[in-house]
């Protein structure tokens, strides 16, 4: 099986996708603030026409390469490429400042590869025994696994469980839109909009949440990064540094793997945890934070181990281990492969995908080792060009899935919603989690009752389901334990603790309108749900009632506890709410307006012309000075997009005037 898997992965088409995925992942990874979830989310929608194996190899390669690329910005410009590499900057940037940038990149490449490879081996070792149970997994078991995944919300929301739950419940409610999974013949909660009867595809929500909202942020920041540390020495020296510290590598691998393995959306924690653990045990602990190779090594190994460890629950249980895991899971569903134990039974495919993942890891390490110096020049790309290009790709991706123009509107709405939600410290990821898990939980709940002729005892009499429920209970309990453990940890890192404290106490007046909006939506769902038969409305009704109860609780708490404090905080917060129009920056309302204008143009002029116009206008408005260059760039980008669409066989919207 393994040989076949590797042979398949090495076949012509697949190796091409592997290289393309790695290249794209590297670019996205190196760009600051764009992480692997963004890179994968943007590409999922382009894989529809592809062979599932090639698609998964492509997406896994993006994930692998992003993880490496992220380190480049952390080390060279002290801006973490994504949350996963926050800790890499603590020692990496000081090293780069000292002129050891090459060595730091070398350490990053090798350390990530080692961490990831160890996790990869554990993935395949664990996958084998799990396949034994695969045939026994039916409705009740999937229901139990879905509930287990949903219980992760408390972790995903980073200590703000109630906010996370509210968002997750909203996601669950939104997942009820469209064909119901109970009878299969009702099209629920369309509110009279025909496109809604087809439901909200996960890809659209993911694109909006991770790509569009990122564009809004990018354009609001404006400019590009100016200060980049020079790379003077050879990255190959970093390799020696790694092999001189086997103990550090071992410790960090275990910590990173453990954090990743827990289905806990823990990418952001892995690097930091490994770093902090190493700081307690390393012989070089005094030099940590002052350009210590050991510190960087620990952070990088932990990150690498976690990046692959994350995929273990995703592929073996169908419980996403990280945001990217959740998106990969959505990709599996799109390609008609049941995620979870069943995935491992689908012939050579899983082996090919795992082989592709390993090849992607090695390829990325090689690129970073030998080309890290040149890669760093990508960070000069100004947001004025980057952001509109991403929008064009998003529009293309949103349309590609089902050839609906309405999907583009849905995507932009998700982008705006998650952007606003993030501003008041709510987690949009939880909403996505709810959206993915909603159908799994609802369908399998009713399936189980169908199997047992309506007896609820089935959830306890099926052994695997019962075990999963017990694990879920323990997991929720363990969360509280973990909370205390981490509180101890933070005591040794005052910076981190103050960060967390700040995160927890910050309240924003924007929360009230958001909650009111969500409450209105939930009430509308509840109201329109009355029309359906009891079985069909059971799940959405429960979800809405829970959501309304939580929103009510949160509102009361906000008004009682922090009402006073706001009276003083209000002017400042309001100023934050309305960003000043500074040259080269676009407030989010403008960006959304531009996107809507783009949508109209797509309808009138067709995709290609509209994209060129949009790129030009947005680039210039966002402060790109050289008009001639901008014209050439927009033509070039549009030509690339057109070629790309031809390559993956996408239909592009034709303008109304050409029809």
């Amino acid at each position: 099986m393994w040989l076949e898997g590797f042979r398949e992965a090495f076949s012509q088409g697949n190796i091409l996708w592997l290289v393309l995925g790695t290249a794209w992942g590297m670019v996205v990874g190196v760009l600051p603030a764009l992480g692997s979830s963004f890179g994968v989310a943007l590409m999922v929608s382009f894989t529809f026409a592809m062979d599932p194996v090639a698609a998964l190899i492509f997406l896994c390669a993006i994930h692998a390469a992003c993880v490496y690329g992220d380190s480049v910005t952390s080390i060279l410009i002290n801006v973490p490429g994504s949350v996963a590499t926050v800790a890499s900057a603590w020692d990496g940037y000081p090293m780069a400042e000292k002129g050891l940038g090459g060595r730091a990149l070398g350490i990053a490449a090798i350390a990530t590869l080692i961490g990831a490879s160890v996790s990869w081996v554990s993935l395949i070792l664990l996958a084998k025994p799990i396949t034994k149970f695969a045939m026994m997994i039916g409705g009740p078991e999937y229901f139990a696994l879905g509930v287990m995944a949903l219980s992760l919300v408390s972790v995903a929301a980073k200590g703000e469980t109630i906010k996370g739950l509210i968002m997750a419940l909203c996601g669950l409610a939104l997942s009820c839109i469209g064909e119901d999974p109970v009878t299969g013949v009702n099209y629920r909660f369309s509110f009279g909009v025909r496109a809604l009867e087809a439901g909200i595809p996960i890809v659209i929500a993911v694109l909006g949440t991770f790509a569009v909202s990122q564009v809004l942020t990018l354009l609001e920041q404006g400019g590009s990064i100016a200060k980049v540390a020079k790379v003077q020495d050879s990255p190959l020296r970093g390799v020696v540094e790694v092999f001189r510290r086997p103990l550090t590598v071992a410790r960090a691998t275990v910590v990173g793997w453990y954090v990743g393995m827990l289905p806990a959306l823990g990418m952001s924690l892995a690097g930091i945890t490994s770093y902090l653990v190493e700081k307690n045990y390393s012989r070089e602990r005094d030099s940590f934070g002052k350009a210590s190779p050991a510190g960087l090594l620990a952070a990088e190994v932990g990150k690498g181990a976690c990046a692959v460890g994350d995929l273990i629950p995703t592929f073996t249980l169908g419980v996403p281990g990280s945001v990217t895991g959740a998106i990969l899971m959505a990709a599996l569903v799109i390609h008609g492969v049941q995620p979870g134990p069943r995935f491992l039974l689908s012939g050579v495919m899983p082996y090919t995908v795992f082989a592709g993942l390993l090849l992607g890891l090695v390829l990325s390490a090689a690129i970073l080792l030998f080309g890290g110096k040149w890669l760093s020049s990508i960070v000069y790309l100004p947001n004025a060009i980057l952001a509109p290009t991403v929008v064009v790709l998003c529009f293309l991706g949103a349309y590609a899935q089902r050839n609906y123009t309405a999907d583009i509107i849905a995507m932009v709405s998700f982008g705006v919603l998650s952007y606003l939600v993030k501003r008041v410290n709510y987690s949009a990821v939880c909403m996505i989690l709810g959206l993915i898990l909603g159908p799994i939980i609802e369908a399998n709940f009713h399936r189980s009752l169908g199997i047992s002729f309506g007896a609820y005892s089935i959830f306890l009499t099926r052994p695997i389901a019962a075990v999963v429920f017990v694990i879920t209970g323990l997991f929720l309990g363990w969360e509280y334990l973990k909370g205390t453990v981490f509180r101890l940890r933070y005591r040794s890192a005052p910076y981190q603790r103050s960060k967390v404290a700040e995160h927890r106490t910050r309240n924003d007046p924007g929360e009230i309108p958001l909650l009111l909006f969500l409450a209105t939506v939930m009430t509308a769902f509840l109201w329109s749900g009355r029309a359906y038969s009891p079985r069909v409305r059971l799940f959405p009704t429960l979800v809405c009632i829970f959501a309304l109860a939580l929103i009510g609780y949160r509102m009361t708490w906000l008004i009682l506890e922090v009402g006073k404090a706001w009276r003083f905080a209000l002017p400042g917060s309001l100023a934050k709410g309305v960003p000043e129009p500074v040259s080269g920056r676009l407030p989010w309302v403008w960006t959304v307006g531009l996107m809507l204008g783009y949508l109209v143009l797509v309808y009138v002029l067709g995709f290609i012309l509209a994209s060129a116009v949009f790129l030009l206008v947005t680039g210039l408005l966002a402060g790109y000075r050289r008009k001639g260059v901008m014209v050439l760039l927009s033509i070039g980008i549009v030509a690339c997009v057109w070629g790309f669409a031809r390559f993956v066989h996408l239909l592009l919207p034709i303008g109304a005037i050409f029809r």
Partner: protein, 387 residues
């Protein structure tokens, strides 16, 4: 950028041959000298942020209005161009552009596969060279794509691969609004196949006669709910529908013993039966005759059950939007007939597991009528299915 407001305040210094451009506040923005143009940086110009924005807005609005003019002009030109053609000769000039074949389901399913097989054969017999492009418009059980077909221009450049058997229940439950599938032009059939009914090896219902009056768990996908209920009624069983996302999953549920019986298009179910190593037992073909390729499996009629095969069998047909002109219909129907009777087409369909059963236009139109009438008889099942 908006030079208009600064142009009004051009000041010439006669003495030293330099031209200055001032903004309304009187601050120098640019200065022309004998050497050339030197534009001062933004901060020195002293343009306020509000000014910057007002210029941008003006620029954007100017750009948009220019664009609108271009669009209107182009629109006018294209309208004028197409007018005489419509009034001209009698024989329709078809096709004038690429033909879109709407498939209201995701890539990879039966609709998509059959559409992609037939597309090159349609191209082969077109009177003029044009591409036939498959466009997947999935969602809401095929409804979104069908509505797109209903609302498309009846010029022969938009056709669809759809099924009256799947659409009749939708029409009768009001899902299609005021649309009537009899208004569509049904050009011909690509394939037709009856369902095969199979039971799990562990199930007590390996003899179909035993199902009478019993609670039987049927594994379904959302597309097979209605045909399954029709089969169950013919068997006299009390069906408990368990819904699955795909046919593979539904078959596996029966193998595991989570459901008792499955009724599915025989070409896809027979593969599951072969792979199941005896865990799936084929019972009968839900039709009046045996299937040629499955000589050992009896038909429903032989066992004494009367199954309406017009609403249980799966079909894929080529249809066009309502309102196509008579001449155009004749031309298109001719192309479809030639394409679906091509022996190479039949070979490819057979290989893909969708045995071709060509049907001429008149027959297809009649068949649709019949499907609608038969489905109406089972309206009570439709109501039960939605609960």
């Amino acid at each position: 950028m908006g030079f208009r407001e600064v142009c009004s305040s051009v000041v010439t210094n006669r003495g030293d041959l330099s031209v200055r451009v001032l903004n309304p506040r009187g601050v120098t923005v640019a200065r022309w000298e004998a050497k050339g143009v030197q534009i001062l940086p933004c901060e020195e110009r002293g343009i306020s942020r509000m000014m910057m924005w007002s210029r941008r807005i003006r620029f954007a609005s100017g750009f948009l209005s220019a664009l609108i003019i271009v669009v209107l002009a182009l629109g006018a030109v294209s309208c004028r161009g197409s007018y005489p053609a419509q009034q001209g000769e009698k024989l329709p000039e078809w096709p004038q552009q690429n033909i879109t074949l709407i498939v209201p389901f995701n890539p990879g399913g039966g609709y998509d596969i059959t559409a992609r097989i037939v597309a090159p054969f349609l191209e082969k017999y077109l009177p003029k060279r044009a591409n036939v492009v498959v466009k997947n418009v999935p969602g809401a059980g095929g409804k979104i794509g069908v509505m797109e077909l209903f609302n498309s221009k009846p010029d022969g450049h938009t056709l669809g691969v759809i099924s009256p058997v799947a659409l009749a229940p939708m029409q009768l439950t009001g899902e299609l609004g005021s649309k009537d599938i009899r208004d569509l032009v049904w050009f011909g059939q690509l394939d037709w196949a009856p369902p095969l009914v199979a039971a799990g090896a562990k199930s007590q219902f390996k003899d179909p006669v035993k199902m009478k009056g019993q609670d039987v768990r049927f594994a379904c996908t959302s597309a097979t709910v209605f045909p399954t209920l029709v089969v169950a009624e013919a068997l006299g069983a009390r069906p408990k529908v368990i819904l699955y996302d795909g046919t593979g999953e539904a078959a596996m549920a029966v193998m595991r013993g989570d459901a008792d019986v499955i009724s599915l298009l025989w070409t896809s179910l027979i593969k599951q039966v072969e792979a199941s190593e005896g865990k799936l037992v084929p019972l009968f073909v839900a039709a009046s005759k045996r299937v040629q390729q499955l000589p050992q499996v009896p038909s429903a009629k032989e066992l004494g059950f009367n199954v309406e095969e017009s609403v249980t069998g799966a079909t894929h047909m080529i249809a066009g939007p309502p309102g196509m002109s008579g001449d155009l219909v004749t031309v298109v129907a001719g192309v479809v007939e030639k394409a679906t009777n091509d022996s190479e087409f039949k070979d490819q369909m057979e290989k893909a597991g969708y045995p071709a059963v060509p049907m001429a236009k008149e027959e297809a139109q009649q068949f649709t009528q019949q499907v609608l009438q038969t489905t109406e008889k089972y309206k009570h099942l439709l109501e039960a299915a939605s609960k």
